[in-house]
Assembly symmetry: C2
Homo-oligomer: 759 residues x 2
């Protein structure tokens, strides 16, 4: 078991590495050449079109102003300066609310830590149980519940503290739910006119032998919503078309690459081979080859497009139906249309950018079957993922490699390399799996048939959290794979499960402290460095970029990444709540994580990430629910722990805690969740009335007519109108975005002033 000294060493190492990351970031970000890597958000918003320094050629690439190196931590206060309303305006509500998760962490754990250190530490410390026992123990254990003797009356302190911590957490959660719900409603109410406010997505339009889908939809809504129906757009199956467009884009990239090569070295015309990846086949002139390929594809695309647009066959039984008023859309989205609840399914249309087009056509029965399949698949993934990895590990040993690839033997037999491979190889399969896990989960969600990208992310996040809970949290406490745990639990009584886990919890405190420092502190500091986008940007910049627009494409701002980020934050909530009563010594480490992460992610949200859609904080009920889950888990584990400490008289008081917590959750669900699911009629009516008064002659139909068109059509049209451009504009025209920064940089906004002083 680690002593306080060990932890000190680990802390020093991690603080130093975090500090190294931060310093590297501070130096790299003020180099003009990296400007587009560390400030892409401003470029995308059109508020910046080139690094701010002007001067000699050298100073275009390297920052020579040495004063700026002295202010290398200046980004931190700057990141905190922008007030929240401006942040919402700048980066969207999703990002702003996402940052609030870190704030909640601080709000919950700072008072809990203070109380814990003031009350629990003295209570635990002033015992001599561990001293008198002959167990090996560390200084940290002296501060933990392990140091309290069996059957001691001091456990009442822990019980009271569990109540206090629960009430405090619930109080913070309730307040936060209230604030976020109000923020969401305010955001929806104060938004500009958006097509999704008037539009409902209708799925499972029943087939009709006499009428086409578009006629059917029109007739149905003219009959059943006569006063409100305005127009509709059918959805085309454009999967093949987007495939072709993607293919053409890839070809264009190669063409650019060779053209650039040629222009740099006009002496030698670049050539390529026609086979796979250009590795074999006939050698041809590369530029001619790709130019002709692109021409062929262009023709195919325009043919396919005509086919999709003209023939009714590619129309899928779904449509975006628009209404004259928000009231009408709100009514249609919340009601059932026909006797058969699996036909004419109506939902709020997601924002156009948020639609996941591939899933719009899945019928009801198929959906339920897909859900079953994914449930089973996920179960096996969570509990049995170690089996294929163990197989790969057993295959991928040194002898196996030497046998399969004998020519590598001389290299492998070098001692340093051998020991490196032996140490590294077994872990690599697991590491690769863990890296790809979020993508696997996302694929699962896609297969399950959600229709918006925000819903996909939310579902993936839930699954990822469960995976982390079982395989990281429980897996670290009761060492063993998830399947072994499952087997254990099946053979244990319901009473014994919290006991087993509860008793090993205090012993794992030092492990989790190290985990927090490595994953939390150093990980977050690494995030701000953006090593991968930095390298990719410079590679692209060198090989592909010809115009400013290409350079813009080469930027990869990324997004907050709800589906990977949030479950990891939740793990810290879980650790904090579980250890709050048991080993309060762990709390400061979590507080440092939350504080550092808050600053770092706030900086990233302001300067880097470009959220691809706006769900208006629709994920908050999930966040709330998972913190509640963590709270209940912590209560059950405390119950298990205390029951082994011969403090059984406290059990009834402990049982009421989870019951009260569940009740609190249900209360919050009833009180606040509807704000995230439904759209109140009063709000809709207010906005409608206001709009009618302000713009009595508004032509809503033309506004809505083309709002929901498959993005690939827009891309194709752009291609056709401007053959030199292969700009992929994922957003439809109507969403107010300034992504095309070709336009002149507008006047700096009030906050861009504060930002420019950073650069």
């Amino acid at each position: 078991m680690a002593t306080l000294g060990d932890i000190g060493v680990a802390a020093t190492i991690n603080i130093l590495s975090a500090f190294a990351f931060l310093s590297a970031f501070a130096i790299l970000r003020i180099q003009p050449i990296n400007d587009r890597v560390y400030f892409p958000k401003w470029y995308l918003k059109g508020l910046r079109s080139s690094p701010l320094q002007t001067g000699t050629l050298v100073s275009k690439f390297v920052n020579l102003d040495f004063r700026s190196y002295l202010r290398f931590l200046s980004w931190m206060p700057a990141a905190l300066q922008m007030p929240e309303p401006e942040l919402i305006d700048h980066a969207g509500l999703d990002s702003a609310v996402y940052l609030r998760i870190y704030l909640i962490g601080l709000k919950i754990f700072i008072p809990i830590a203070c109380l814990g250190f003031a009350v629990m530490v003295p209570v635990n410390w002033t015992n001599k149980t561990l001293e008198h026992s002959k167990l090996k123990y560390s200084n940290i254990d002296l501060l933990s519940i392990s140091n309290v003797p069996l059957g001691s009356n001091r456990f009442w302190t822990h019980l009271v503290m569990a109540y206090v911590f629960t009430f405090w957490t619930c109080y913070v959660l309730k307040r936060e739910y209230e604030i976020v719900a109000a923020m969401r409603l305010h955001f929806l109410a104060s938004e500009h006119r958006r097509p999704d406010q008037f539009t409902v997505l209708v799925r499972n339009v029943p087939p009709d032998p006499d009428e086409s889908v578009t006629q059917l939809v029109e007739h149905f809504f003219l009959v059943n919503h006569p006063d409100h129906y305005l127009t509709h757009q059918v959805v085309n199956n454009a999967n093949k078309l987007s495939e072709l467009v993607n293919k053409k884009k890839k070809m264009q990239n190669w063409l650019d690459f060779y053209q650039l090569k040629y222009s740099r070295n006009p002496a030698r015309k670049p050539s390529t081979k026609t086979g796979f990846l250009g590795l074999w086949g006939k050698t041809v002139d590369a530029i001619d080859f790709y130019t002709s390929k692109i021409e062929t594809l262009k023709k195919e695309i325009s043919l396919e497009k005509d086919k999709v647009m003209s023939s009714g066959k590619s129309v899928i039984p779904a449509a975006f139906v628009s209404f004259k008023t928000r009231w009408g859309a709100s009514v249609c989205a919340q009601t059932q249309q026909t006797r058969n609840p699996t036909l004419w399914l109506t939902d709020w249309a997601p924002e156009p950018r948020d639609v996941y087009w591939d899933n719009l056509a899945i019928p009801f029965v198929s959906l339920t079957i897909r859900r079953l399949i994914i449930f089973v698949a996920y179960f096996f993934l969570t509990f049995f993922f170690m089996i294929p990895i163990a197989i790969v590990q057993s295959l991928a040993n040194i002898e196996g490699i030497e046998k399969a690839l004998p020519f590598l033997r001389p290299i492998i037999e070098v001692k340093v390399i051998k020991s490196f491979i032996q140490g590294f190889l077994p872990g690599i399969a697991l590491k690769i799996f863990l890296i790809f896990l979020p993508d696997i989960l996302m694929l699962m969600s896609k297969f399950e048939g959600f229709i918006s990208r925000s819903a996909l992310e939310r579902r993936s996040a839930t699954r990822y959290y469960i995976f982390l809970f079982i395989n990281v949290f429980l897996g670290s406490i009761i060492t063993g794979t998830a399947f072994q745990q499952l087997d254990n639990f099946m053979h244990q009584s319901a009473n014994d499960i919290p006991k087993t886990i509860g008793t090993s919890i205090p012993m794992k405190a030092t492990f989790f402290i190290t985990y927090i420092m490595v994953d939390g502190w150093a990980g977050v500091a690494g995030e701000i460095l953006r090593l991968k986008p930095l390298i990719v940007y410079h590679l692209k910049n060198f090989f592909l970029v010809k115009t400013e627009k290409d350079r813009e494409e080469a930027m990869d701002p990324g997004t907050v990444g709800f589906n990977t980020g949030e479950p990891q934050i939740q793990l810290y909530f879980l650790l904090g709540l579980v250890y709050a009563v048991v080993t309060p010594f762990l709390l400061p480490f979590i507080i440092v994580f939350f504080a550092l992460a808050f600053v770092v992610y706030r900086h990233q949200v302001i300067n880097v990430y470009n959220q691809e859609y706006e769900s208006a904080a629709a994920f908050w009920p999930d966040v709330h629910g998972r913190i509640i889950t963590a709270l209940i888990v912590s209560q059950l584990l405390l119950m298990g722990l205390l029951s082994t400490k011969e403090a059984a008289q406290s059990t009834p008081l402990l049982i009421t805690l989870p019951i009260l917590t569940i009740w609190f959750h249900r209360f919050c669900k009833g009180r606040y969740e509807p704000a995230f699911v439904r759209y109140p009629l009063q709000e809709a009516m207010m906005k409608d009335t206001l709009e009618r008064a302000r713009e009595p002659n508004l032509n809503l139909k033309s506004f809505l007519q083309i709002a929901y068109i498959h993005p690939v059509f827009k891309e194709v049209e752009e291609c056709e109108s401007d053959p030199a451009s292969e700009e992929s504009d994922q957003e439809p025209v109507l969403i107010p975005t300034k992504r095309q920064s070709r336009m002149n940089t507008p006047l700096p906004s009030k906050h861009s002033g504060s930002m420019t002083s950073l650069g």
Copy 2:
């Protein structure tokens, strides 16, 4: 363990007692004097106003037509004759669908029993495990799974049969859900104009210092549903008024009693005492005393009524809001009105008869707290109800009685009486508790705040089912109180629970066979005799009845009693499904129960029960869900049983069964449940259009104006207009009912012909 012979004896006894009940019924029902006990439904429908025989004075009371005694089982085919659509017309959809539950029992278990006897019985019988073992066993056990040797390959038969039975049950359930959903929608669509089709119940109207509730409601709906709002009625708190009315009714009963007594014996004026129950106090003239009491109450009632009607203080923050169209009401009921989802709660208004008025004013926070309290109370009721009963039992022993009431000693010491008391006393506390249990559960549901009587019954039924499952089913299998079970389960592994129960299941087959015969066969036969209503009717008839109208009041038709009846049926489904694979010998007993109960209850529904409200089969999702639960329980127990039989290789196949069943349940829930919860807009629009075409000048407002008035006001008005009458008309005027059979008997309907031949 009971042998086949024992079961034969038990069967004989129960068949004989059932037969005795049926014979008694056959004789009693054709006596004209009992006509109102056994055919109240016809009186209430106004299709019958006196027994059908006419003749001498004697034949008014006793049936002298000996031929009719020969046809004493003729009611059975008669009960089956009425076709279902006519039954719906006659007794309502609720009753007709309730009878389908018995039919489902037959549909599920007849094929299962045939297959079970054809396949399982030979497979089980042709083993010699029990013969070779030295265990005591009965003939029935030879037919059960106990007779198959450990690790035998024959268990594959049981496995395959479990699959076949599951698929068959699911098939029947799905078909039935489909049919019932269609029946419900057809019923709703083909109904006459009813106020609840246009009306929405709004609760939690927020308080406003400037406006009264009625103004607030009007303004809110005029703004937010401008095209559809028609009118509204506020709800008054009339609890005190109904108390007074009830008190007056009781006084009137006493007055009638004494007046009748006086008219029969004019020599002696009846007197009463003013104290409690007329037992002590000053002796006064009874008729004068009660007349003056009633006069005082009348004044109080009219005062209270004026107070309630005029002052705004008794208005509670809830209202029935009516719309111009069904479409408008449907929209309002399914949508959220304001930002705060706990204010302006809109739900479909229940039928006026179905409204539970006392609960309309409970605010949201109070509702969630009440739910928590009831959850805890119900938990303790289910698991700890034996504690107070055991205390009562320990107090109520012979010695205790002798000590408390020493003057009873000579009587108690008589041997016969002593042994009788000793045998009877311990059980009586439990018996009384079980008799009052449905009422206790109903009180709990009322406290929980449901707003319709049908919802109250549904919730009580769920609770009763869980109680029966834990205390009767599990309690009989692993003997011990529910609390001991809970304690056992807490200390057992999750794997072991199904094992413990599964292994004792085959041994309990004979017990459950006896249970089915006593509770099912004899119980159902006893139901048709209606002993309690028979006695009460004749008592009332003798002491209170003066006019025909009084006689009508003395009838107590009762209702189907969903909250007590359905959970008991569900117990048979559970037994049937659990034993289908284990001991198929039990199935014929269950089939006999379902067949007998179907005939008996069909007779009762046609001739006796008077359903007090119509929920249009809103209970079906509950029924379906409980049969699914029984199916899953049976699968888990089979899994436990087979795992002790060393047939572990079948476990993976068995685990998939409950997963598939749960998936099937979710599929059905998505596909059919909305028909029971929501009202599709297409249907509403169709009915609206039809109505507009047929009756363009309909004055809907006057139709809806008084539909939802607290029933006590109507009673009061009736009292005032007709002081001699205390007819309690629970139904508002607008519901088409012919309850006042004072009117001349109309022409017999087409089916009343077949019924009169029964009498």
